[in-house]
Amino acid sequence: MDNNLSHNQPLSGRVIKQKARLSGVQKRSIKNFFQALLFLSPALILFILFVFIPLFRSFEISAYITDPIGRLAKFVGFQNYRRLFETPDFINSLKRTLIFVLYTVPTTILISLGLAVLGDLRLKGISFFRMVFSVSIAISGATASLMFLYIYHPTVGVNYLLSLVGVHNMTWLVSHKTALMSVSLTAVWLQIGLNTVILLAAMQTIPEELYESAMIDGANGWNKFVHITLPMLSSTFFFLLVVDILAAFQTFTPIHIMTHGGPLQSTNLLVYSIYREFYFNGKFGFAAAQSIMLFFVMLILTILQFVFVERKVYYE
């Protein structure tokens, strides 16, 4: 608008007006900035109070030994981190978390891919099945854990049905050999809904012409799946891989409800270990060091995802 006004100025006048206009623009940009800040401030203040300051405080606490109610007592530098890797409990919990990731992530993606292919069929009533396949989105971690707790129950649980097909005396949560697998099954079931929904949405963005021209070339269903569907989903798979790994690293509820980390520490995953260290043992510094480790795992994965997806965009 400033430009429009100045067009009508005589040449000599324009030079004089130049200064005034510039400061007008500056004034406007300052006004815009403060107006924008006003709109951003509610979210910004909350972020500062509950995300940014706490993140720095996590780093700070991790460099201290605290008293049992969390007040900083003694600066120890990196000692908490060094102690982490000398503590068998933490190494165990890191190991169990990695195994948990290996158990859950590929299983979740494979099952969800199967369900998404089924949900992509062009049939009457398919939207009902899509809803069923994604139902675990609506189920909370707590209720799913309780449901599975009693599926694993020795008398009312699924063991009787399994015995009909020749599988006897599954130990489920009772034995340290099967407990993590049993928890994983719950986590997979909980995560399938989200994965299926995202895969289905991605499948629907694949251009129909690709399949049509493949059909003209005489490709059968399997060929189309392997040579069109799977490659077209590659960035979605990567996205899910990151989302699922992060979800696995953050798993807490099923552990708290089903196993309390046992038997024999076999299900003592990272977040549960953090919770126990600060909430019960009052070792805030030690727990904060663990949570910072979690932060870096998440950061690296997110950066990897950005790098990969950005490159993917270029190729397309």
Binding site: T205, T253, I274
Partner: protein, 279 residues
């Protein structure tokens, strides 16, 4: 010849339905089994082989669950917490998204990156300082302690901004010429147009908050302030409680969110796929 083709077609369709039904049964099994147990009488609980189909509708198990634990009160707490978080996110996200979409200001990209970066910081990495902070504020066992930390999200801001950007800029220019302020333009033009996106954020944030576990576990000690997820998990610790009553409670507290899931399926799925699928 034509008839045979038709038969084969029908057969493959039937086969597809059969596979779909089997898959649906397997996925629904955990919910079915919880429902089945919740309908058992106490004597049926001891039967061997275990009963696989309900022999009747037994609502008294829900009633017993409700007398064993104040599930109604817990449900109320969860609904209040989730509603507060939902309203908070709608307000903070639409304000911030408005600035990002309609105001041209210095360092806009830097601020936007700052907002996005909050999505990469796992809640668990900040949970200890947050727990200490909320304690220091005296917010333990309060609704503000349960809700305020979650009232702003990078995700919500991002979701609404994407939608706001689709609103034609001419509308904004015309409004400016008419002397319409930012806040009036947001209230009278942008928000009514953005109803679908607001609906998505509302459903998504409500569901997420209702299902929270670790945070309410940390900041509520008083039984009257417990949320429903913590309450249901604590039922399990009551030694004398029968499993059928616990499962009746599980079904009871799942009904609101399952209903929300069915009723607003489209909004919810739009929210879940917002960050994942391009185009």
């Amino acid at each position: 010849m034509k008839k045979m083709d038709f038969d084969r077609h029908l057969l493959s369709k039937l086969g597809q339905y059969l596979i779909l039904i089997i898959a649906a049964i397997i996925i629904l099994f955990p919910i079915w089994s919880a429902f089945n147990i919740s309908m058992m009488s106490d004597t049926e609980m001891g039967a061997y082989p275990p009963i696989q189909f309900p022999t009747g509708i037994r609502l008294e198990n829900v009633k017993r669950a409700l007398t064993q634990a104040p599930l109604g009160r817990y449900l109320f707490n969860s609904v209040v917490q989730s509603t507060l978080v939902m309203l908070g996110q709608l307000i903070t996200s639409s304000l911030a998204a408005y600035a990002f979409a309609f105001i041209d200001f210095k360092w806009r990209n830097i601020f936007f990156l700052l907002f996005l970066s909050t999505m990469m910081i796992p809640w668990e990495a900040t949970i200890i300082p947050n727990y200490l902070f909320v304690q220091k504020l005296g917010w333990t066992d309060t609704f503000q302690g349960l809700a305020v930390p979650f009232m702003a999200t990078g995700f919500g801001t991002f979701l609404l901004r994407q939608f706001f950007l689709k609103i034609p800029h001419e509308l904004k220019d015309a409004a400016t010429i008419d002397g319409c302020s930012h806040s009036r333009f947001l209230l009278t033009i942008v928000l009514p147009l953005a109803r679908p996106a607001l609906g998505t954020l509302a459903v998504y944030s409500f569901l997420q908050t209702y299902n929270q576990y670790l945070w309410p576990l940390l900041v509520t000690n008083n039984p009257s302030m417990r949320t429903v997820q913590i309450g249901i998990a604590l039922l399990q610790d009551e030694e004398r409680l029968m499993i059928n009553i616990i499962m009746a409670g599980v079904i009871f507290i799942q009904i609101p969110t399952l209903t929300l899931f069915v009723v607003s399926n489209r909004q919810l799925i739009r929210g879940l796929t917002a960050g994942a699928v391009k185009g």
